[in-house]
């Protein structure tokens, strides 16, 4: 076989392998989609077939049961505020740490990044104790906690990038009479766009889907719950007598729809964000 022919054959084999893996990757999601339109009986009797009728009844009742609209609003607000807080605080502090070049800045940076090794479980109980005593065992407290936990990685990402940003522009801005905040937000921050996307993607995905922290902070208090929390409690209450698949599937489906829709529109940035984040480390 010629070199070119061998290459062609190799490509076909590679495609077949990758398509098989794609099927394996997508199959669980297809089950999820199909089974969101079926009754419990139909799910158990024909678990991988297409639904007999594409009825929205199960999705509607699941969405009601997990207070979908409200829970999505709560999750959205928590995620946006936490990520916003993180971006603001970590970019500003990473920048001033890089620029001031003092021993203290180096020590600070070291302490921040070393904290990446601390698992959540090691601080969880004292943290809840402190926040409860401060009257912060609520959504504002939750946002502050996310701000603290996302800090290490975000400072680290910004720090890595800012090192490569030349200082000359900043000096020019000061000579033009800008104060430090004007200089930061008009000159420096726009240059950090790539890193900001990474910080949004990595923290946003984690905070949106997080189960443990909302579980510990908000728990089963009525009214305000995140999507993941609603899902957990719906499963818990309905699951006392076997598995309520006709609730679980549509409930899971509606909780993941917002993030999948976002992914379809922003996938280029999300993939770039993950790649960027990894290269920095």
């Amino acid at each position: 076989m010629s070199m070119k022919g061998r290459h062609k054959a190799g490509q076909i084999v590679a495609h077949i392998a990758l398509i098989l893996i794609s099927i394996y990757t997508l199959a669980p999601l297809v089950f999820l989609l199909f089974n969101s339109f079926k009754s419990n009986n139909e799910i158990v009797e024909s678990p991988i077939a297409m639904p007999l009728a594409w009825t929205l009844d199960y999705i509607k009742s699941a969405a009601e049961q997990i207070n979908f609209i409200k829970a999505m609003g709560v999750t959205f607000i928590i995620t946006v505020l936490s990520v916003g807080l993180l971006i603001l605080i970590s970019s500003l502090s990473a920048w001033v740490m890089v620029r001031s070049k003092t021993k203290m800045a180096k020590v600070l940076y070291l302490v921040f990044t070393a904290a990446m090794l601390i698992p959540f479980q090691s601080v969880m109980y004292p943290l809840l104790d402190i926040f409860e005593k401060m009257g912060l065992k609520n959504i504002p407290g939750l946002i502050i906690m996310y701000g603290g936990f996302g800090l290490s990685m975000s400072v680290f990402l910004y720090h890595g990038f800012i090192k490569s940003v030349p200082q000359a522009l900043e000096e020019a801005a000061i000579i033009d009479g800008a104060n430090i905040f004007q200089m930061f937000f008009n000159v420096v921050f726009p240059l950090l766009k790539g890193t900001t996307v990474t910080v949004i993607v990595l923290n946003g995905m984690w905070i949106w889907n997080d189960y443990l922290l909302p579980f510990l902070v908000i728990g089963n208090r009525d009214g305000v719950k995140t999507l993941t929390l609603e899902l957990y409690f719906a499963r818990l209450t309905a699951g006392q007598y076997g598995n309520p698949w006709e609730l679980i599937f549509p409930a899971v489906l509606v909780t993941i729809i917002p993030i999948v829709v976002l992914y379809i529109f922003l996938q280029k940035y999300i993939v770039a964000g993950v790649a960027e984040g990894a290269v920095k480390m």
Partner: protein, 298 residues
Amino acid sequence: MDRYYKKRLVPLALPAIILFVLVIAIPFIMGVIYSFTGWRGTYFVGGENFWESFVGFDNYIKAFKTKKFIDAFIYTIKFTLVAVIVINVVSLAVSMLVTYLHKAASVYRTIYFLPNLLGGLALGYIWQFIFEIVFSKILFSEEGVVSIPALCNMTQDNTKALFALVMLFTWQMVGYMIIIYTTGLNNISSDLTEAAAIDGANAWQRFKSITVPMLMPSFTIVFFLTLSKCFMLLDQNVALTDGNFGTRMLAMQILRTTRDSSPPDYGLAQAQAVIFFVLIAVVTLIQVSVTSKKEVEV
């Protein structure tokens, strides 16, 4: 100019410092101190304050005598070992296939990343269905497509559940790791591999002598991420088996310790949490220093 920034270091970094101290530093230090006390969550045994309640290393000794903790410790190590190997082998192999097909590659990467968007809890519920119904009734039961008893009722057996969890987590993580590996592979200049091919190196020799050493920075990151994520796994563990059949991992063990006894033994839970931290810190630091030493400068 340096003085200009120096003066502003503390005021500008202050919000970050406050957050860090409040959320990480103080709770961490308190956690270590509390692990040496008879903390019960709402009170301390033997006094009003923690300094009246010191018990020395009692909580640590108790932790290592608690069967559930030892089991969770071993189960976590076993899971991490298997999962890190499987995730890395699969994602590296897929990455090499993907980079081999330059143009079409991004479509596959997009598909493989999808599972990563879902939370561990949601994933766990879907896979519970797959293991309990699809695997156990349709595919691998005696009346199924092929009878493979090892793949039936995987969530109801200690060892099988370990592999079920590995399958689930591999399915979830591979897409993320592929992005890192393909970025690394694309950075390897094709000049190197072509030169080696002209010199007569076969595919395996090129992989071993060029790809692997050049990919070391990616290995450092992927190993670090997979190791720490496997050690800290919680949501999937909760959703798939909820720790039944001795499948509790350390993160869940620490969380449930306070429910295992009455009054809840927070001192014991905290001692387990400190051991957990030491385990993760030691293992990941060793890994990072070993793999980054092998990185080559070009």
